[in-house]
């Protein structure tokens, strides 16, 4: 491959014309460096950097019968007028918030718990991470057909019935759709967060707990005043990453709710992008929706960074 061309012998610059030789060597070194970079740069250029720009350009254009014209904000007005637009945003934000409450607090406390246990550590770690390794389609069909079966034979309904609690229609009831999706998503994804927390918990110096205990701090106080401040950096980082990931929720509604669910109860922004781009043959509208999402995330990130850095 191209890399082989880079194996020139290292230039040992002669003393005769040091300046020129040094410059020649510098150019050659840079050339070598860029030969190694070429493949990656090309891939980034074609499949990431160019599409980024193109997405923004596309959102102001329209292609009809092979002719591309500028249409100003037409795509944006059409996207905003889509009756599913606001439900999609509402669902996405709802999913993100719910996933944050459940999918963020649960792994943290699971990690604290696992960190305290002195036995079966390896086993528990494997268990928590196992669902992360399943293909999401596999895991979601399991939830769809077995766990969220609305009859009494469904796994969740059987458990609820056993505990004498009211059963649910799950994906068929608009109110239960989002929580059901969050449960499935948390089960599938929490493993990586737990392991990252565990690693950062192990970096907390034991003397801090020792000192806190000597000062008479109880269990909750120790968590609140030692554990959380010591892991704050990673907590903040993961919150950010999780929000960006859950804002893009797509496979869950597609498989669990056949995309939109009943009365748009499951439609998310990511699904709407997919719907516009690949079903309604409206790639430009989908690109505009993507830009709107990017904007929303940028505003959120700026706000978030400001909030978290101000505390320092």
């Amino acid at each position: 491959m191209a890399i082989i061309t880079a194996t020139r012998p290292v230039d040992r610059s002669s003393a005769a014309a040091p300046a020129r030789a040094r410059r020649g060597r510098k150019i050659r070194d840079n050339l070598t460096g860029y030969t190694f970079l070429a493949g990656a740069i090309l891939c980034f250029a074609v499949f990431t950097w160019y599409p980024m720009v193109r997405g923004i350009i596309m959102s102001f254009q329209k292609t009809r019968r092979g002719v591309t014209t500028w249409v100003g904000l037409d795509n944006y007005t059409r996207i905003f007028a889509d009756p599913s637009f606001w439900p999609a945003w509402k669902n996405t934000v709802y999913f993100t918030v719910l996933a944050l409450v459940v999918g963020y607090a649960v792994p943290f406390f699971v990690a604290i718990l696992l960190n305290e246990l002195r036995h079966a550590k390896g086993y528990l770690r494997i268990l928590v991470y196992l669902p992360v390794m399943l293909p999401p389609a596999s895991a979601l069909f399991l939830f769809k057909f077995y766990a969220y079966d609305p009859s009494d034979a469904g796994l969740f309904n059987a458990v609820l019935k056993f505990l004498h609690l009211p059963t649910s229609q799950w994906m068929q009831s608009p109110g239960a759709t989002m929580p059901a999706m969050v449960i499935a998503s948390t089960w599938m994804n929490m493993g990586s967060a737990v392991l990252i927390y565990l690693a950062s918990l192990q970096n907390i110096p034991g003397e801090l707990y020792e000192a806190a205990e000597l000062d008479g701090a109880g269990l909750w106080r120790r968590i609140w005043n030692v554990t959380i401040p010591q892991t704050r950096l990673i907590l903040g980082l993961l919150a950010m990453m999780q929000i960006v990931a859950t804002m893009q929720v797509f496979v869950e509604p597609l498989i669990l709710a056949n995309g939109a669910g009943t009365q748009d109860s499951a439609t998310t922004v990511a699904y709407l992008i997919y719907q516009h781009g690949f079903f309604q043959n409206d790639l430009n509208g989908a690109a505009a929706l993507g830009v709107v999402m990017l904007g929303a995330l940028a505003v959120f990130s700026a706000f978030y960074l400001r909030l978290t850095t101000k505390n320092d």
Binding site: C43, F47, T48, L117, L142, A153, Y274
Partner: protein, 295 residues
Amino acid sequence: MAQDSGSRTLISAAQLQRGKGKYVYWTLLTLVVLGFTLVFIGPLYWMVTGALKTGQEVAQTPPTLWPRHPNFSNYTSAWQNLNLGKLLFNTFYYAAGAVLFQLVLDTAAAYAFSKLRPALGNVILGAMLGTLMIPTIVLVVPQYVTVIDLPVLHLNMLDSPFAIWLPLVTNAFNIFLLKRFFDSIPDELMAAAQVDGAGPLRTLWSIVLPMSRPILGVVSIFAVTYVWKDFLWPKLVMPSPETRTVSVGIYAFSGGSSQNEIIAASVIAAIPTVIIFLIFQRNIMSGLTAGSVKG
């Protein structure tokens, strides 16, 4: 499994070994082990055994814990009707290619950033890492448009494995992981190799790569599981039934097949990644935390 000695955690070891503490600890441990097994293995058990039941038995209340007449017909019919052999082969083929392309191109790039340091290298690295901020769903549409009509070459890459392999090279996180690992290799070692007359490629091949086996393993495992788990992108760029990945194939058949057949197919699709996990769990877990902690 013994404890990692020394480091104390939230609750001191002494407290857990005495009277009431000991009692509470063992109760809690039992509860956690049972609860976690139920929550994380339970659904998988339900899935594997459910596919051994008849449709009638699955729908019956209360559900049976163990199939009355376990039969593998769901598994065999899923294998045949969904052409799972072909789907699994496709997925494996895409995963293997993804590993190869990522290892060659991302390693070369990370090596250049870490050791060769060409002019403006940091700017380019920044531009690559910046793409981590862009949500993938935002890029899907323009990426798709690019892939169906490649700029300059005007090639349509649909149904070509390169449509999966090449975009996966743009994994900035891998480049970052590899670069950080290469950074820890002392420059003196590189200088020594240079004095011995080794060029950059030779140094990479005989010095850097042999030292980097753990991180290369992590990158490979992540590449395989990523391809195995990915859904939307392969669904878009592999539209023909013959080129589908296993997840997309199962989804495509989910409308027309019986529930139990789909579940059986889901079980089969999950087996390779579960096996990979059980074999490489140590590497996977260390790789997961390598990028985030420390720093």
